[in-house]
């Protein structure tokens, strides 16, 4: 599995399509996590669900990085960015490669 992270509008999907054309793409993982949290799923359950979805075939997972700001006022937003951060750390551990995309450029960090 390949994990691609970065801020919004950095060209992550374009990067994925260019470098991993044959792969399945799990785009906007951070929004998937938000949806799951709204359905009251736990961090472990969400992670399990992600793993299940990418079981067969070559997958590229794409997610925004949410943690680089002031702690949000809304409790739900705080939880969302923390859970997303921790799930990304876990996925990065399992990934064969990790890229961070800035300005359309992919920097391989694993």
């Amino acid at each position: 599995m390949v994990l691609i992270v970065g801020g919004s509008y950095q060209g992550k999907i374009e990067f994925a399509k260019e470098y991993f054309p044959g792969s399945f793409v799990f785009d906007k993982l951070h929004l998937f996590i938000k949806q799951c949290l709204e359905e009251d799923k736990s961090e472990a359950q969400i992670l399990e669900e992600i793993r299940k979805r990418i079981q067969t075939g070559d997958w590229v997972i794409i997610s925004d990085e949410l943690g680089n700001g002031i702690v949000p006022m809304d409790e739900g937003d705080v939880r969302w960015r923390e859970v997303t951060g921790r799930i990304l750390i876990e996925l990065a551990r399992e990934a064969d490669r990790v890229y961070r995309v800035i300005l359309g450029m992919g920097q391989r960090i694993k």
């Binding site: 994990l3 992270v5 801020g7 990085e65 949410l66 943690g67 680089n68 700001g69 002031i70 702690v71 960015r81 923390e82 859970v83 997303t84 951060g85 921790r86 990304l88 750390i89 996925l91 990065a92 551990r93 990790v98 961070r100 920097q107 960090i109 694993k110």
Partner: protein, 186 residues
């Protein structure tokens, strides 16, 4: 020696920094916690404590005025137990983290202390602390990329933390940015 570990919230920077300290081979590992214990932060503090468990850290808690944290603790221990304090060359300290420290120095007793005062005081405290240990690992936060325009007090805080981060990066021998748990050497 100073190592600066920088990253966003839940980026894995604490665990990365702890591993740096554990790999240092230094026998006396100190963890200087700056987070104010409140009902809101209890869960985070507990999570961090669990993360550190079994890694052999001696925890010091100073929400501000971090100067001489190690000195005072060692002096107290020596007075209490008679055991001689370890030498400066065999001590490593992990300071976690700058965002709390700056907030605790700046917003106190309902007042906002000026940015210049906070910057000067914190740097001077860190310089003193540095002389008491062989190695200092400092964790700081990237809180600068949400594009939100905040009220004056928060802006002053952001300017202060941003300025301190740059000063520390300049002072540091090594700087890492942690992204999804992976340390990138800058």
């Amino acid at each position: 020696m100073i190592t600066l570990v920088y990253g966003g919230s839940s980026s894995g920077k604490s665990e990365f920094a702890e591993n740096l300290v554990c790999k240092s081979g230094c026998a006396n590992k100190y963890y200087l916690a700056t987070m104010k214990p409140t009902p809101d932060t209890a869960e985070r503090i507990k999570r961090h404590k669990n993360l550190r468990e079994g890694k052999g850290f001696f925890t010091l808690e100073y929400e501000r005025d971090i100067v001489k944290a190690v000195y005072e603790v060692e002096k107290n221990k020596q007075e209490r137990t008679g055991i001689k304090a370890p030498s400066q060359s065999d001590r490593i300290l992990l300071l976690e983290c700058m965002s709390n420290l700056v907030a605790n120095e700046m917003f106190r007793e309902g007042k906002i202390m000026p940015k210049e005062y906070c910057e000067k005081k914190i740097i001077s405290d860190i310089m003193t602390l540095k002389d008491e240990v062989s190695s200092l690992v400092i964790v700081s936060n990237n809180v600068f990329e949400d594009g939100v325009s905040y009220a004056a007090g928060t802006k002053e805080y952001l300017r202060c933390l941003g300025g301190l981060n740059r000063t520390l990066a300049e002072m540091a021998d090594k700087v890492y940015e942690v992204v999804v748990g992976i340390g990138i050497k800058l």
